[in-house]
């Protein structure tokens, strides 16, 4: 991550391998962000590509003095996702989760037991469905904080709002998320709900 400004310089000088290195370093993060926002694999792939095309076109506007490259990248991605959300608002069915359980592309751990693996999948599905039910403002705050591990000041930079607002949104988002998860676990059955620690 520390090499990002150097890679950006090389990219601007026309070094394609530097651009490939940047993609290798950050595609996973941006793809996860897009997937958490949309809940659809194909849509997340398209959005990831669009985000990086935008990044490639505006790379010369990146200023390392104003913030880290991942923060700038997350801001561009977030703005693009918000634009996309507004554009597709009419077409979207909020509760839909297009991909099947098995299509979640997280790397399976070879040491995980099959039963634990199924449980893990269920938790991921539950989380994604719960995130889909949040309002966009709260969802993006929770995703950036709890899934992308950004600091409050970084989230404030990405969202372009004061840090106090960020804290408030994260708190409200988490509370809403907790309520949704509890409700969904209750609907799935007491056995699964009781399984949590």
């Amino acid at each position: 991550m520390d090499h990002d400004p150097e890679l950006v310089k090389r990219c601007l000088a026309g070094d394609n391998s530097a651009w490939e290195d940047l993609l290798q370093n950050h595609t996973r993060k941006i793809y996860s962000l897009c997937y958490r926002f949309t809940g659809r694999r194909s849509e997340a792939e398209d959005l990831t590509q669009e985000v990086f095309i935008k990044i490639f076109q505006t790379l010369k506007t990146f200023d390392a003095a104003q913030g880290a490259f991942p923060t700038w990248l997350a801001r561009v991605a977030r703005n693009h996702l918000v634009d996309h959300y507004r554009r597709t608002k009419k077409d979207r069915v909020t509760s839909s989760l297009e991909d099947e359980l098995g299509s979640l592309e997280e790397k399976p751990s070879p040491t995980v037991e099959p039963v634990a693996q199924v449980e893990s999948r269920e938790h991921k599905e539950l989380l994604q469905q719960a995130l889909d039910r949040l309002s966009p403002d709260l969802r993006e705050a929770v995703i950036l904080r709890d899934l992308q591990d950004l600091d409050y000041d970084e989230i404030a930079q990405v969202l372009g709002v004061p840090e106090g607002t960020v804290k408030s949104r994260i708190n409200r988002g988490r509370l809403e998320l907790a309520r949704v998860i509890k409700r969904m676990e209750g609907m799935r059955g007491p056995a699964k709900a009781g399984g949590r620690s």
Partner: protein, 225 residues
């Protein structure tokens, strides 16, 4: 501390960001309030679910696709554009096409009788082209016809044929018809023998004429009658 105040501080409490005074107040409230304890427990569970979620792995072809969409489809330089434009010029097919075009053009220009060095406005009229082509065609036909009749062999053959046609009629006219003796023979040559000798002479002359014409053609001269 009220339920609402605790709700507002819940995240900061779980992240350990509250100062000591606030933290003690929250803990005191939680000791007495089962609903708020449940809320904090649910919140903690949600945060644990989020933290347990790993980054998702994108499809393996995604980076290659992005590379193609960005670096791979960059605008080619002027040099590359020129190289692409002139690449067909290096193909033999183009040379054949150009040669055929020049050949066809020269045929049209010759048939139309155009003089490219002294091109006038009238030469651009298709009617003139048609007239000139028609004239050139007739001249060429006349020239070929003249060449054919000027050939020595043709001349010889024709004259012999004329001679052959005229001989029987002369003989009929000049010689009185002898009365054939009954049962006797005559020592006069039959007309068939004369004709055979004439054709043999004709063949010899034709062979010599063909040889002469071949030599003249090889030297590039036109034969004289």
């Amino acid at each position: 501390m009220t339920h609402l105040e605790l709700e507002n501080l819940a995240s900061e409490y779980l992240e350990g960001q509250l100062d000591v005074v606030r933290r003690v107040q929250v803990e005191e409230h939680l000791r007495d309030c089962g609903a708020c304890r449940e809320l904090i427990s649910d919140l903690q569970h949600a945060m644990e679910l989020c933290q347990a979620a790993e980054d998702l792995e994108p499809a393996p072809w995604l980076i290659a696709k992005i590379m193609r969409a960005t670096v791979g489809e960059r605008k080619p330089t002027l040099r590359e554009q020129l190289a692409t434009f002139f690449r067909p010029a290096t193909q033999p097919r183009l040379a054949y096409a150009v040669a055929m075009a020049i050949f066809s053009f020269s045929i049209i220009v010759n048939a139309a009788g155009l003089n490219l060095r002294k091109l006038t406005l009238a030469d651009l009229n298709p009617r003139t082209w048609f007239y000139q082509a028609n004239r050139t065609g007739h001249l060429l036909y006349a020239r070929v016809e003249k060449f054919y009749y000027d050939l020595r062999v043709v001349y010889e053959i024709e004259s012999r044929l004329r001679q052959l046609r005229s001989e029987p009629s002369k003989q009929e006219q000049e010689a009185p018809k002898p009365e054939a003796p009954p049962g006797g023979t005559t020592d006069r040559k039959a007309p068939g023998d004369t004709q055979l000798a004439s054709v043999q002479g004709l063949m010899t002359t034709a062979a010599s004429s063909i040889g002469a014409v071949t030599r003249m053609v090889a030297k590039g001269r036109s034969p004289s009658p």
